[in-house]
């Protein structure tokens, strides 16, 4: 197994390769994958490509979370 150092939301982290974006999301226990948008090396990663994008040594992966306004339509 190959170890690789990657950066998740700016923090260095060791992972085992091979690893695709979907598997990384599972490993990191991202609470609600439908509520994140993923960038790999500052490039937007299409959701349908998450299975095929392979993580490499030194990759920067950013999870952007959907955030509303704190009271989701309570008054509507």
């Amino acid at each position: 197994m190959i170890m690789a150092k990657i950066y998740v939301n700016g923090d260095a982290q060791e992972v085992n390769l091979p690893l695709n974006v979907s598997e990384l999301i599972k490993q990191l226990l991202v609470e609600d994958p439908e509520m994140v948008s993923v960038q790999v090396n500052e490039e937007f990663a299409e959701r349908e490509d998450w299975d095929s994008i392979q993580i490499k040594e030194g990759d920067k992966v950013d999870f952007l979370y959907f955030m509303g306004g704190g009271n989701l339509s309570i008054d509507h």
Binding site: Q39, F44, D62, F66, M67, G70, I74
Partner: protein, 268 residues
């Protein structure tokens, strides 16, 4: 250009003393027209600081009335305002802080039928809304109308914001489309620490003032996120996406969309 009165010179003296603002910058602020969409957790601090700063005209869109559960974070509304339309309550406070400010109120929901007409009247738009359908609507309408805007979102102990200028990354460049309705956290999971709204809203107000005075670097092509639990702030570089459905090379969206909204009602 506006001639500042003695009283205005005194009122805005702490702006005028700033070399980057000065009388000239203050005059730009006083000529500005800003639309604040949502007079809630984010819109409240935004409207208060923009009023204090002397923004010439502030438009406010909100279809709600003040609810007791709003007062924990929506600091422009007071206990006596419960039951009053938020736009009326906000207008009253803005006028009390600064009678120089002209207030235009829209007691309605922003939707695909009115968004472009309302937005086109303003120089800068602040998204202070609480739901994804309207956030995408504001994004799309601003891109179509070529208007700059500030995006803001908060959840629990986190906040995020970016500023869009024509040509820079838009909300769809980062998030493509709204999350599936069923994936949106339910109300019981979606609380927010009140002060977070103030932290994020004041960043949006500062970006607005930076835009009009031309000071520094705006939060364009960067998403600022923070976690108040650790007080870690981070800016994530984001890029304008050529394949973006609204601002890309071959946009596929040619009209505004009213997305379905996650239903949630804590009152019943």
């Amino acid at each position: 250009m506006i001639e500042l009165t003695e009283e205005q010179i005194q009122r805005y003296s702490r702006h005028i003393l700033l070399q980057d603002v000065g009388v000239e910058g203050q005059e730009k602020i006083m000529n500005a027209r800003v639309l604040v969409v949502g007079a809630g957790g984010l819109g409240a601090p935004v409207a208060l600081y923009l009023a204090a700063a002397g923004i010439g005209t502030i438009g406010i869109v909100d279809a709600d009335v003040v609810d007791l559960s709003n007062l924990q974070r929506q600091v422009i509304h007071f206990t006596k305002d419960v039951g009053v339309p938020k736009v009326k309550s906000a207008e009253e406070k803005i006028k009390a802080i600064n009678p120089d400010v002209k207030v235009e109120t829209y007691y309605k929901f922003l939707d695909s039928s009115n968004a472009l007409d309302i937005i086109k009247e303003y120089d800068f738009i602040v998204d202070g809304t609480d739901n994804f359908p309207v956030k995408f609507l504001i994004n799309d309408a601003c891109v179509m109308a070529g208007k700059p805007f500030s995006h803001g979102g908060i959840l629990r102990f986190n906040g995020q914001t970016f500023t869009h200028l024509p040509g820079t990354a838009c909300y769809r460049c980062m998030f493509k489309e709204p999350p599936p309705v069923g994936a949106v956290p339910t109300c019981s999971q979606a609380g927010v620490l009140g002060a977070i709204a103030g932290m994020l809203g004041t960043i949006q107000a500062a970006e607005t003032l930076k835009y009009f005075t031309g000071i520094g670097e705006l939060l364009t092509n960067r998403l600022l996120t923070f976690d108040a639990k650790t007080m870690q702030f981070r800016t994530v570089p984001v890029r304008h996406r050529d394949s973006c459905a609204i601002c890309g090379t071959n946009p596929t969206i040619d009209h505004l969309i009213d997305y379905e909204q996650a239903a949630c009602d804590l009152k019943h």
